[in-house]
Amino acid sequence: MMAAATIASGVEVDPAVLEAQQARIDAIRRATPAAVSIFAGESGGGSGVLLTRDGYAATNFHVVQAAGPAVTCGLADGRLYDAALVGIDPTGDLAIVKLLGRDDFPVAGLADSDRVQVGDECFAIGNPFLLGTDLQPSISAGIVSGVHRYQFPAGTILEYTDCIQVDAAINPGNSGGGLFDAVGRLIGINGRASFEKRGRVNVGAGYAISANQLRNFLGALRSGRICDHATLGATVSTAVDGRVVVADILESSDAWRRGLRYDDEIVSLAGRPVRTVNAFKNVLGILPAGWQVPLVIRRDGRRQDLLVRLHAVHSPAKLAELASGDAAEESRGGSDGPEVPAAVRHVYERRAGFANHHFNVVERDRVAAGLAAIRDARPDGPWVLAGQLAAGGEFRIELSDATATIDLPTGTSTLAGEDEFDRQPVPPGSGGLLPALVLWRRLVVEGPTAVGQTIFWGTAPRQPATFAADAAGELVDVLESAVAGVVARFGVDAAGRVVWIDLWTSPDADPCEVRLTWPEEGTAGGMPLSMEASFGSEPFATFVMDAPAAAEASR
């Protein structure tokens, strides 16, 4: 067919042109089935894109903001689906909705948006001007005009950081729809455009939230929470010589406790070089509150590697206010909350701090199922961990429902019950290693519902120390338990193994951090090979377990 290179009208065409055209047609054909036209009744609508076969779709927060718990979604197959609001990120302008009724939805594949280059072909699929009344989405093609752009919150709180700028037409109604690369992979979520004297129509400058930002927030969004963005607890400015330096820092911040000080030069954050204030805001803007990421600084010519925890930008109350907005409050008939349409009543549950708590239970149960899958590999009575400390000497830890004992060369510590969790973090100097391990055992043996109040928190880096935002580092599920005055977060990998635990005995202090190393997947063993515990910036101890059989025998 290509050899002929003559189109119907008899005009000779370079085969390369026809090939390029065919490639574009194919890419659009691949991407279109996952495009969602969102209709939100009186509050308008927009676009979306399906991410999972069971119906999770991404869109903009500003598309669903006034819609309440349900929207109607149309796909290019000509069918309408009811969809429930899942989670929202009011600052980053992202939201997740779940389309109901199928488990075989067509989906878009998420690309690594940091590989996108200026000049790349791209196309947007969406529902501009809500034209898609026949449910057929509109396609607009263009090129990438800029990458890593920063867009100030213009009269709103919607801050577009690290976004992709395109000349493909992005018009009102395209919001929430997908931006795709030349082969039809999802590189961003269109959400904003520069409008000016010509009115609210495209003038060649549209902006998409990067796929990598979406990936970072996806876990938190699926948790049903109202997600928040991150702050270092420090502001930066450009020094006379062009370096990016700390201009101000809160002494209550984690960064301060990790050693960040005024005038320190920021070299990189989360693995990305920082050469301008914008670059700093760009990296920070794609990271959820609560993550722990590497920060490299230079002071007096010396490079220092820090590991910092990011604080939330807003208070929970402020976040809830941002999430609702006046217009939304009105349409929901006051403070009683939205009226829940029958179609989504079975997948909607109101709870403070959540856009929809129902999906938190769904995700928590999913992670619990993973934990349960390898529960059989562990003893169901008390656990005994024994072996050698890396620093020398033997250790023995025994864990049961609420009590525990640890024998160390420096002495023996015991935990008599839950009420001691926050009173005296034991062993001394660990910040609460024993309560962390007791809760871990309970989470595994009894499941999350038995451990105080446990929610699905979202996802976070598996290995914070080496996490690189631009390499789309590996993320793990995170459960958060609040019990007896302490808060613990558990990183759980895809195999259902707890890979790290952070336990706070006081919200403003450092947590006890436990990092667990497991055998290669597929090999036997219900216990980790080793554990590293630290508190603040100080390592507490590294525990190397005896062979599992030996641990078993020592019971």
């Binding site: 280059q117 200026v118 000049g119 790349d120 072909e121 263009g142 090129i143 990438v144 005009s145 800029g146 890593h148 752009r149 920063y150 867009q151 700028q165 000349d167 520069s194 000016e196 004297k197 010509r198 495209n202 003038v203 060649g204 400058a205 062009g242 070089p273 050469r275 301008t276 204030v277 914008n278 670059a279």
Partner: protein, 344 residues
């Protein structure tokens, strides 16, 4: 670091495009090299829809930069920011009021070589537009790149406000929205990265009033810039040290004594632009351009707002009849020259 990144892009593209056997450079490479030669310019503005930023094209490795003549340049400190984040204070070398061009000079080394120029291409040519539209790019970020086609090559018939644009030569009319806030001074390049023209100021079509997307062809750009560099252009305005006023046109109004003193002409200085045009004592000034002026103060404000190089048109009432006068392009305020006799 930026040159390193460009090199990395180059290598990546070369290694992945071997099978393509493309005769033209990849769009990514062309975009990168064109954006490398476009600078972000910051100056006066920021009020009432007047942007304080625009774009410029590096003309030579010794630091000459072509840009659009605009109010952005009416500043003591004009800054040029390169795509490696370096910031330089720019000195205006002069302007070409007809083409609405200006040439700036920066004291910089290691500048990218000037883009090769390609003269007078035909309608239908695929192009990239590279500019700092909307001021989106800051610091070491590259200017924004758009893609489109030259729709036609025609003489410019355009206006800004009520005034006709001074340039009426050929322009490239483009089929995409290139002339946005901040775009003036940006580059139009072809698919091989050759410079075709410079994005002009935001203008409306004289015929239909729609906003135009156009570029000054590179031959006009280079002729204008060469004349400016050779010194035959109009000298650059002395950075807003002296405000422009009626005195510079040779018009002295009656003393401004009342709340709304009527703008009667008291004297016209001999040999001045106003005298040459034919204004005379006792004329009552009623409009500056399309702006009606009802008082001495309003007349001064309206004249002060005429951009340098724009035509000056005054309407007066003389013995009961409205008479319009053309005083030519608004002259730049020469350094050291004090405004003459505007107030008694």
């Amino acid at each position: 670091m930026i040159p390193c990144r460009a090199a990395a892009v180059l290598i990546a593209l070369l290694t992945t495009r071997v099978v393509g056997a493309a005769t033209e450079s990849s769009p990514q490479l062309v975009a990168a090299s064109a954006a490398h030669s476009v600078v972000k310019i910051y100056g006066a503005g920021g009020l009432r829809g007047l942007e304080a930023y625009q774009s410029g094209i590096i003309l030579s490795p010794d630091g000459r930069i072509a840009t659009a003549m605009s109010t952005v340049l009416d500043s003591d400190g004009i800054d040029c920011v390169l795509d490696d984040g370096r910031r330089f204070e720019a000195t205006p070398l002069g302007v070409d009021p007809r083409r609405e061009l200006a040439v700036l000079s920066i004291d910089a080394t290691d500048l990218p070589a000037a883009l090769p120029a390609e003269e007078r291409v035909a309608a239908g040519t695929r192009v990239l537009a590279v500019s700092n539209m909307f001021g989106v790019a800051v610091g070491d970020e590259r200017a924004s790149v758009q893609r489109g086609v030259i729709a036609s090559v025609v003489p410019l018939e355009a206006r800004r406000g009520a005034a006709d644009a001074p340039y009426t030569g050929m322009v490239y009319v483009l089929d995409f929205t290139t002339n946005n806030p901040g775009s003036p001074g940006g580059a139009i390049v072809d698919s091989r990265g050759r410079l075709l023209g410079m994005i002009g100021k935001e203008l409306r079509s004289s015929a239909g009033g729609i906003w135009l997307n156009y570029a000054l062809p590179v031959d006009e750009l280079l002729v204008g810039c060469e004349a400016i560099v050779a010194g035959s252009g109009v000298a650059a305005p002395a950075a807003a040290a002296t405000p422009f006023d009626l005195g510079l046109l040779g018009i002295v109004l009656v003393p401004d004594l009342l709340d709304r003193t009527p703008p009667f002409v008291e004297t016209v200085l001999p040999g001045s632009a106003a005298a040459r045009a034919g204004l005379a004592a006792d004329d009552l000034l009623i409009a500056v351009g399309a702006r009606a002026v009802g008082s001495h103060a309003a007349a001064e404000r309206a004249v002060g707002a005429i951009p340098s190089g724009d035509p000056v048109r005054l309407s007066v009432i003389r013995t009961g009849t409205v008479v319009d006068y053309e005083l030519g392009p608004r002259p730049a305020v020469a350094e050291g020259r004090a405004p003459q006799g505007a107030t008694p």
